[in-house]
């Protein structure tokens, strides 16, 4: 059976994010925000959530290695601050080295029927900088180089998950074969999982874990859908429990959807039903 390896400090897993930072990402989407800003926000939230997920009383446990590669004017590791230039860093060093920590206010249920405003620390690792073309093939190749070395060192780990976030149009060729090469990387627990998030300027309804390409709004969405890995059973079941519509053919493909949703389904141990 595949995709059953326990994620532990001895056998950590890995997340690698590929972020489209091409000129077109300055276009607005849904709520009028620039796509690039929306993605930067999402990546910072994802890294925040992963850090918190791995936090225990004594500090952050290294259940994951994490990296961010941006592609646009250049294809390069994209974390800023002390982690600049690092392609995969342990989650504890990510947690301990944000470029800066901002403070934001959040409205919260105060448990007594009211709403309280609470100040929350919001760490930043990644800033939006959109310029240039969309060298997605090159980004997939850099991901391949980065991850093939990692799987060599972690043969028994849950396979790495690569999440590509883009507005869809590769300018350096057809990314299909690079995607296939990337998905062919494996540990003994299964093949690498490639998930794609398509951020579109259209107001079409958001889709998470699509299971067929019919109905997808354009050719780029269809291409990204076909580049994506099928969801392993454990992730599918976990998503179904949370009320998402999934089938056996569902893929790790999201269209205009909340990226943070994508990694909620990767469990480490018990998560209480009443914990948010």
């Amino acid at each position: 059976m595949s995709y059953e390896a326990e994620i532990s400090r001895n056998n950590p897993s890995a997340f690698l994010f590929l972020i489209d930072m091409s000129g077109s990402m300055t276009d607005p989407y849904g709520n009028g925000k620039r796509k690039a800003d929306g993605v930067a926000d999402a990546i910072n939230k994802l890294l925040t959530n992963l850090s918190i997920k791995c936090t225990k009383s004594e500090g952050v446990r290294d259940y994951y290695d994490v990296g961010v590669i941006s592609y646009g004017k250049r294809v390069e590791p994209a974390l800023v601050g002390e982690l600049a230039g690092v392609s995969l860093a342990s989650i504890s060093s990510v947690a301990n080295h944000p470029a800066r920590v901002e403070e934001r206010t959040k409205k919260e249920d105060d448990g007594a029927g009211g709403i309280a405003e609470v100040k929350v620390k919001f760490p930043i690792w990644f800033d939006a900088k959109a310029a240039g073309s969309t060298p997605m093939c090159e980004a997939l190749k850099l991901a391949h180089t980065t991850v093939s070395e990692w799987v060599g060192r972690h043969p028994y780990s849950f396979p790495p998950i690569v999440i590509n976030i883009t507005d869809g149009e590769a300018t350096d060729g057809d990314p299909m074969s690079d995607a296939e090469a990337l998905r062919a990387l494996s540990t003994q627990d299964g093949n690498l999982l490639l998930f794609n998030c398509h951020i579109s300027g259209t107001s079409a309804e958001s889709i998470l874990f699509a299971d067929h390409e019919e109905g997808l709004p354009d050719q780029f969405a269809k291409l990204l859908f076909n580049m994506s890995s099928q969801l392993p059973e454990a992730i599918r079941e976990s998503a179904a429990r949370e009320g998402f519509k999934v089938s056996e053919k569902s893929k790790g493909f999201a269209f205009n959807a909340d990226l943070v949703e994508l990694i909620r389904f990767l469990d480490i141990g018990t998560r209480p039903a009443n914990m948010r």
Partner: protein, 237 residues
């Protein structure tokens, strides 16, 4: 009724004893026993689990009293981790609260009473049979998303209606086994296949034997890798 109680525990394989996040408390003179399982995705979970079991054997609250019982423990938990959460992630994690199951059992006269939130289980074994399994009755009922008691008041809103209670009569030679989820799930699978999992557990007389038996079950794939806790109460013949 004359009873004797023993408790055994083992951390998840790959974790140190310091990282064990279950808890148990045994107060034989009051005939009160409890186990709790601090959720691994929360921080300061062991401290929370310990407060719950210690609190239970001291006060033996009923289901109706549980809400009031938990409130001062929440304050103690908050006090205990004050000043420890300095990094941004510890602060955020602590704000989410710790979560834990709780199974508490009391014996009065010739009756036992039990109360449970979450998936820590009680098995009453009599004359070579599982007479009662509580609150889960079948192995398939275990999921990794149980409702648990939180150290943060607002997270408990939906929990109070899920407190399960049960009671029964106690006879000479009965055995009450309190377990956290991984061992309980193994126990139910074995019992469902017509085996006698209590027999193997009753042979354990030292912590080393318990650890060796748990290692062996894990190696064979019969036991999910998780913290393990067992409190065994035997009624004299």
């Amino acid at each position: 009724m004359n009873t004797s109680a023993t408790a055994w525990w083992a951390p998840k394989s790959g974790n140190t004893a310091n990282e064990y996040e279950d808890a148990y408390a045994v107060k034989p003179e009051a005939l009160r026993f409890a186990v709790a399982d601090g959720a691994s995705e929360t921080s300061f979970a062991r401290q929370w689990a310990e407060l719950l079991v210690e609190g239970f054997v001291q006060g033996a609250p009923s289901a109706a009293e549980l809400r009031e019982f938990v409130s001062p423990l929440q304050a103690l938990w908050a006090e205990g981790q004050k000043g420890k959460a300095t990094a941004w992630y510890s602060e955020r994690k602590a704000a989410d609260g710790a979560f834990s199951s709780l199974l508490g059992v009391t014996i009065e006269g010739d009756r036992w009473r039990a109360l449970a939130i979450g998936d820590s289980c009680l098995f009453v074994v009599r004359s070579g049979k599982v007479l009662r399994a509580f609150p889960l009755e079948r192995a398939e009922q275990f999921s990794n998303r149980p409702s648990l008691l939180s150290s943060i008041a607002r997270a408990n809103a939906g929990v109070w209606s899920e407190v399960a209670t049960v009671e029964g009569e106690l006879q000479a030679s009965d055995r009450l086994l309190l377990m956290t989820d991984a061992l309980a799930q193994w126990f139910l699978v074995e019992a469902e296949m017509g085996r006698r999992p209590w027999a193997a557990l009753s042979k354990v007389t030292t912590p080393e034997q318990f650890a060796a038996y748990i290692d062996c079950l894990r190696a064979g794939g019969a036991l999910r890798n998780d913290d393990v806790t067992l409190v065994s109460v035997e009624v004299a013949a």
